[in-house]
């Protein structure tokens, strides 16, 4: 990395490509004000809000995710990055909501399962899904099957996601899926599962549609599920 740390970079002097790259760096460093400033500059230059989201913010967060997985970044740093991304997104959200052509990929209901109150990973997944174009309904933590059923009724999601961080709460995901199956919901509703103690084998064993290893991967897989990718 460069030694000229204190040489200040004037964001608005950068051309588009340089600015996008700089924003990804700033996001990586958790610099909320700079990421927001960059977002505004791109919008002022006439960039489409969707393109700002995808090229600068989502791509930046994808890189963060890779370094987190490889043990280069740790939870506190990732949370700073997430805050920086949130800053940028808060500028984009109203524009995206208004624009005619921001076709939502559908609703994604997500929640941490009953007995578990870990929510950092779930929140990151929710943010990346929103970045990918889903309308995200976050049920929060400690959700019994009734909450998921109610949300399915109310929001008619395209996909439902469950998160668990404790070995003792992961089996509950199987309970929820079984209940969906009993009610004939499972045939129509793809269920994604994730959380650090899970793996593909476990997801298969409980009959989940898809296992999401991390937030970026989950967003990609979700797009594939709704048929909006490659």
């Amino acid at each position: 990395m460069s030694d000229d740390q204190d040489e200040e970079i004037i964001l608005k002097d950068l051309d588009d490509d340089e600015l996008v790259e700089q924003m990804q760096d700033d996001l990586y460093d958790g610099m909320t004000a700079e990421v927001s400033e960059g977002t505004q500059i791109l919008l002022d230059r006439g960039w489409d809000a969707n393109a700002v989201l995808t090229d600068a913010l989502v791509e930046g967060m994808r890189i963060v995710g890779i370094d987190f997985r490889d043990g280069i970044l740790f939870v506190p740093e990732v949370l700073q990055c997430a805050n920086a991304m949130k800053g940028g997104m808060s500028l984009l959200r109203p524009i995206l909501a208004e624009s005619e052509n921001s076709s939502s990929l559908g609703t994604y209901v997500i929640g941490t399962v009953k007995g578990d109150i870990h929510d950092i990973g779930k929140n990151l997944v929710g943010m990346m899904l929103e970045g990918a174009g889903f309308e995200v309904i976050d049920l929060g933590i400690n959700n019994p099957v009734e909450n998921y059923l109610e949300a399915i009724d109310k929001h008619k999601p395209a996909i439902l996601g469950m998160s668990a961080l404790l070995t003792t709460t992961m089996p509950y995901m199987g309970v929820v899926i079984e209940e969906f199956d009993k009610r004939g919901i499972l045939k129509e509703l793809p269920v994604m599962v994730g959380g650090a103690p899970l793996n593909q084998e476990f997801a298969d064993a409980i009959n989940a549609h898809t296992y999401g290893r991390d937030a970026a991967m989950t967003a990609e897989l979700a797009k594939v599920i709704v048929g909006k990718n490659r």
Binding site: P76, E77, I141, L165, L166, T167, A196, P197, F202
Partner: protein, 208 residues
């Protein structure tokens, strides 16, 4: 003639070292056949490192022992530690999902969670290293705002104490204050850690 007890290795989380050494001492001659080797306590936050760490030690010195006690609960391995134990001979692990459960007692731990899901548990070890592991380890010193991101869903700190130590109690109370949570104290002693090691050390086979 008294038959010699089988040579036993305990491979444990570094956070249990002090307690296990104390138990070994209390067991007197039965403790003499036990050797302890620890993995770094910070594997706690990287459960994917636990099994590779165990494999390395077992490969290098496992053959000198007749049986090995894994000084871990499941600890977030998602059941993979149990599969590992099943696939290897003469291995056994501590009961329960994690140290909070085997210190409190499995049923008692469930009852505490039932009573208040928003409980954050401290042990002697965690109280002692609260600043290093929680405040610095989770970056709360550098980014104070993170405190709420981590603990917004929590209501109380429950100190599951292994020893009766007023200094630690004061520090646990201070930790709760720092997190802005209620404080509760439960003396547990070594709980099922003591029971498992005692039974293991006097039995003649691994299947205690």
């Amino acid at each position: 003639m008294v038959k010699a007890l089988p040579r036993t290795l305990i491979i444990a989380c570094g956070a249990l070292a002090k307690e296990i050494l104390h138990l070994k001492k209390m067991l007197g001659s039965a403790g003499g056949s036990i050797d302890l080797q620890c993995l770094p306590a910070n594997y706690h936050n990287r459960p994917d490192k636990i099994i590779p760490g165990l494999e390395k030690i077992i490969a290098s010195k496992g053959s000198s022992y007749e049986r090995i006690l894994i000084g871990y609960g499941d600890c977030g391995t998602g059941g993979q530690l149990d599969t590992f134990i099943k696939n290897n001979k003469n291995l056994l692990r501590l009961p329960g999902a994690h140290c909070y459960a085997f210190y409190a007692g499995l049923n008692e731990f469930d009852a505490l969670m039932e009573e208040e899901l928003g409980s954050f548990f401290l042990t002697d070890y965690l109280v002692q290293f609260f600043d290093t592991l929680i405040i610095k380890g989770f970056g709360i010193d550098r980014y104070p705002d993170l405190k709420d991101m981590y603990f917004a869903n929590y209501k109380r700190v429950v100190y599951l104490a292994q020893s009766e130590n007023e200094d630690l109690q004061a520090r646990a109370q201070a930790a709760a204050d720092t997190l802005g949570l209620d404080y509760e104290y439960r003396f547990t002693g070594y709980g099922e850690l003591a029971f498992t090691i005692e039974t293991f050390s006097i039995s003649e086979n691994a299947n205690v």
